[in-house]
Amino acid sequence: MKAARGLATLAAGMLFGFGLSVSTMIRPEVVLSFLRFQDFGLMLVMGGAVIVVLLAYKLAPRLMMRPLLDDHFHEHPSVWNRNTAVGAALFGVGWGLCGVCPGPAIAGLGAGNWSLLWALAGIALGALVQGLRAK
């Protein structure tokens, strides 16, 4: 069961990474051209992804007692507080500066975009500093 879950997680990640590549979100220039109102493709990417996820999150718990390979469906409630607001604002500043967010920073490596290692290093460092400063 544990091995099956691992394989399932790998396969899901592969689909995710393949989608990020097909949609060219692994190209910082494409993301930046959205943020500069030159190409609205990112809206379609996000919209398409949200619709599929919405259907899965709503339907799966109703149609199935539990996920196929585990005993319960997880939930991840988000909260709106000062940290969320400040964090989201800073995330946006960084995203607007480099055009890379966590998924594409990882997936881009699979397409030989080695420059993204700089972004990946920046993200890892940012996450480290955030954890060291947190109480």
Binding site: R36, L54, G122
Partner: protein, 157 residues
């Protein structure tokens, strides 16, 4: 800022198809394992292997660090399949300067972890579970990202 001739100067099909595939990945993860697959947490949970500080040793990081790394490995393999099988194997490259990637990346990592989510966590999984705080987070980071990207374009055309 230039006025675009079209909302989608490079076509729109690949954007929609790619988005549906990204959603299918997160949906498959949920249906098979029940897990919520945002991408930014892996950057905190992986530090738990190296940093003993109590923040990184929280159960939510230690308990999920294994599968999150496998999920991240999947992202790389999925992109590799696209690159070798569908894109002719010509390496992707970016003209965005190194300092922007590094400094921007730092803010992306710090902000996503402080705010508990990124474009996939709040954007795809949070909106996909109809959570208002995630919508507020998305609107916030979209606003600051628009401002930053356009400001940079003005300063460094």
């Amino acid at each position: 800022m230039t006025i675009p001739l079209s909302f989608f100067p490079h076509g729109w099909q690949h954007y929609l198809l790619g988005g549906l595939l990204i959603g299918a990945g997160a949906a498959l993860l949920f249906v098979l394992t029940g897990r919520i697959g945002g991408m930014s947490t892996v950057f905190s949970s992986t530090w738990s292997y190296l940093v003993q500080r109590s923040f990184f040793q929280q159960r939510r990081f230690v308990d999920s660090r294994g599968w999150r790394l496998v999920y991240a490995l999947g992202l790389i393999l999925g992109a590799l399949v696209w690159w070798l099988g569908f894109a002719g194997g010509k390496p992707e490259a970016t003209a965005v300067p190194v300092w922007q990637l590094l400094v921007g990346g730092f803010f992306v990592g710090y902000g996503a972890r402080l705010g508990n989510g990124c474009t996939s966590g709040h954007g795809i999984c949070g909106l996909g579970s109809l959570q208002l705080p995630s919508l507020m987070a998305v609107l916030t980071f979209m606003a600051t990202a628009f401002l930053t990207a356009n400001l940079i374009a003005q300063v460094m055309p």
